[in-house]
């Protein structure tokens, strides 16, 4: 990273925590939306960007988390934030279950399956599967989250909850990226045959990528349910999955900073040009086509090399 981008990043990091002080409620709410999409896109980035698995049904895992949280909260009165790990587990387990039989499928076939899974989940939610999802109307009356006795109600309060979680996610994911696990996902993306031929259990890592990415999306679902207090199937449509896919690709697959930037652009920009809202998707479609020709690596591609020379020489010393 050069000095200019570094100082821009530093500035954003320094200013963002104070955003609720100088932005109005609506603007803070937009930032909250961006935060949620950033979380979801970061979770998809593990699957799509790091492991190179075409997941275009990510909204299904998001939905699993949101519904798990909503059902546990409204039926069993479990405080919404306590459901966070459970939603993560539910979404992750669901991902493992559906991915297991199809994990060996090649690129675009896997993508078609994930689209199918996303649609089946949405249709199941609309049809009030098991009588617990509330059908097309969804679930309402989800209670407000409480943190250390403080009830989170206003967008300014949610801002800290959501962006706190985003910050934690960035911290953990950046570390994961530079670990044995993160590297294994990259090997998978670069060349599956060579990865398997270097002793890496590629099927296990593909599943792990799906499980972890889905679990994180599930936790984002909990935050979404807490923020909205009402959820319905239309929040988890195919276009939601497409939007997330787009954020990861536009930002730069495998690039944490790129994905964050793209979340700001894709979710934030349309809010600035509201009079053109109708043409929003048209522009996105066009941008996707042009980007693939002009800049397929994304706006802000992953930084390389990730293991610095200093670390290399450091390793040789006892």
């Amino acid at each position: 990273m050069n000095r200019l981008t570094l100082s821009v990043v530093a500035l954003v990091v320094a200013v963002l925590p104070f955003a609720p002080l100088f932005l109005n409620t609506y603007q803070v709410d937009v930032l909250n939306s961006i935060g949620l999409y950033a979380l979801l896109a970061l979770s998809l980035n593990l699957i799509l960007g790091e492991a190179g698995l075409f997941d275009m049904g990510h909204a299904a895992f998001y939905a699993m988390g949101a519904y798990t949280a909503a059902i546990l909260n409204t039926h069993y009165q479990i405080p919404i934030l306590w459901t966070l790990p459970l939603s993560g587990l539910a979404a992750g387990a669901f991902a493992l279950l559906v991915a297991r039989p199809v994990i060996h499928l090649r690129g675009d076939y896997l993508m078609i399956v994930t689209i199918g899974v996303g649609e089946i989940v949405r249709i199941a939610l609309v049809n009030d599967v098991f009588g617990i999802t509330g059908g097309a109307n969804g679930i309402f009356g989800i209670s407000r989250p409480k943190l250390f006795g403080w009830v989170i109600r206003r967008p300014e309060e949610f801002f800290y909850l959501i962006w706190g979680f985003v910050a934690l996610t960035i911290f953990l994911f950046l570390r994961l990226k530079q670990s044995r696990f993160g590297r294994a996902l990259n090997y998978l993306r670069e060349d599956e045959v060579a990865a398997e031929g270097s002793g890496i259990d590629t099927d296990a890592y593909k599943l792990a990528a799906f499980g972890l990415g889905a679990a994180w999306a599930g936790m984002a679902g909990t935050l979404f349910a807490a923020k909205m207090t009402i959820i319905s199937p239309e929040s988890f449509s195919f276009w939601e999955s497409v939007m997330l896919f787009m954020i990861v690709i536009l930002g730069g697959a495998g690039s944490v900073l790129g994905v964050l930037l793209a979340a700001f652009l894709v979710i934030g920009l349309p809010e600035l040009f509201r009079e053109l809202a109708g043409a929003r998707m048209l522009v996105f479609g066009l941008v996707m086509m042009v980007m693939m020709v002009v800049r397929p690596q994304g706006l802000w591609p992953a930084q390389t090399p990730r293991i610095s020379l200093a670390a290399l020489t450091g390793a040789r010393k006892p």
Binding site: G52, F54, P101, V102, L105, G107, D108, Y109, M111, I112, V113, I115, G116, V117, E119, I120, I123, A124, V126, N127, V193, F238, V242, F245, I249, A253, G278, A279, M281, L282, F284, G285, L286, V287, M288, M289, M291, M292, V293, P296
Partner: protein, 319 residues
């Protein structure tokens, strides 16, 4: 309702309403299946030659439906030429226009990415799909568009004692006819042989003097032409169309192509008809609410059990 044209003296009807109902669902399934099959041909041909899922193909189908509506109403074809000739002219115009759209799509979205990684082409295809869909939305609006019902024939036809809507019979006949014509074209002509050669090995085909770019262009003319007609059929059959319908129909047609064996033209026909029937019967006898999930379940099952499809052959991966 399909059952409205049935006279009480129909022998099958008086014999058993259950059989009657079943046969109605079956013919309905065949008509919808014929439409799926026509769209599936476009997916399967492009996949055969480029190994690319043309995500925007479903939207070209939608363009067929919208262009058909606009031409039908603005030119008043059926008023001037009569129903049969009017629809025939309409079909040819829609085929031509959507074929041109297909060729433009290939030029704009896929040709620049011929040498790029798979992901790039997939993303571009998706972008093209979103772009095409939203262009329609901006032109026509987001609401359902309705085909004028005074133009559509409401007659029913007596097929061996079963009263079937005329449109349904026409759709089945026309789609099967076009599929057979395409199959013969691919199998019996020199150009068809070139397409087959390019599908097997592009490099070798090029060495044999085949202009692969022209083959690809041809595939992007033929597939969308058939897909466009399928869109027109949906408009004429159901009477209303929507700018997002291409994605649902597209996914189902793609399922049909996989079901039959992707890259395989008879496979697309078999898969389309089969999926149409499965879906119609599933909706009638299992659950109408889950109708749209049936195709996806079929898709996932076939990919787990037999990813090469019913008629596909297994090919070893080169390492």
């Amino acid at each position: 309702m399909p059952a409205s044209g049935i006279s009480p003296i129909s022998p099958i009807h008086s014999a058993s309403p259950l059989v009657e109902e079943f046969l109605q669902q079956l013919t309905n399934g065949l008509a919808v299946g014929g439409i799926y099959a026509l769209i599936a041909l476009g997916y399967t041909m492009v996949y055969g030659v480029l190994k690319l899922i043309n995500f925007a193909h479903g939207d070209l189908f939608t363009y067929g439906a919208y262009l058909g509506l606009t031409l039908l109403t603005s030119l008043a074809l059926t008023d001037r030429l009569g129903f049969a000739l009017g629809v025939l002219v309409l079909v040819l115009m829609v085929m031509g226009l959507v074929a041109v759209l297909g060729a433009i799509l290939e030029r704009a979205a896929y040709r620049p990415l011929r040498e790029s990684p798979r992901l790039s082409a997939v993303v571009s295809a998706l972008g093209a799909s979103i772009f095409l869909q939203n262009t329609l939305m901006l032109i026509y609006g987001a609401r359902f568009q309705v085909y004028p019902d005074d133009i559509l024939p409401t007659a029913t036809l007596n097929v061996l004692g079963l009263y079937v809507p005329l449109m349904r019979v026409l759709i089945v006949l026309a789609s099967v006819g076009m599929m057979v014509a395409l199959y013969l074209f691919i199998q019996k002509t020199r150009i068809g042989a070139a397409i087959r050669a390019a599908a097997i090995d592009q490099g070798a085909a090029r060495l044999m003097g085949i202009d692969v770019n022209r083959v690809i262009l041809l595939v992007f003319l033929l597939g969308p032409a058939l897909g466009g007609v399928a869109g027109l059929m949906v408009g004429l059959y159901y009477g209303q169309v929507n700018f997002t319908m291409g994605w649902v129909y597209g996914m189902k047609a793609f399922t049909a192509a996989i079901l039959g064996g992707i890259g395989n033209i008879p496979g697309a026909m078999v898969g389309g008809l089969l999926l149409g029937v499965i879906e119609a019967l599933g909706a009638a006898y299992v659950s109408i609410a889950w109708k749209d999930a049936i195709a996806f379940v079929v898709l996932i099952l076939i990919l787990i059990v037999r990813p090469t499809g019913l008629l596909g052959e297994r090919v070893a991966d080169k390492i």
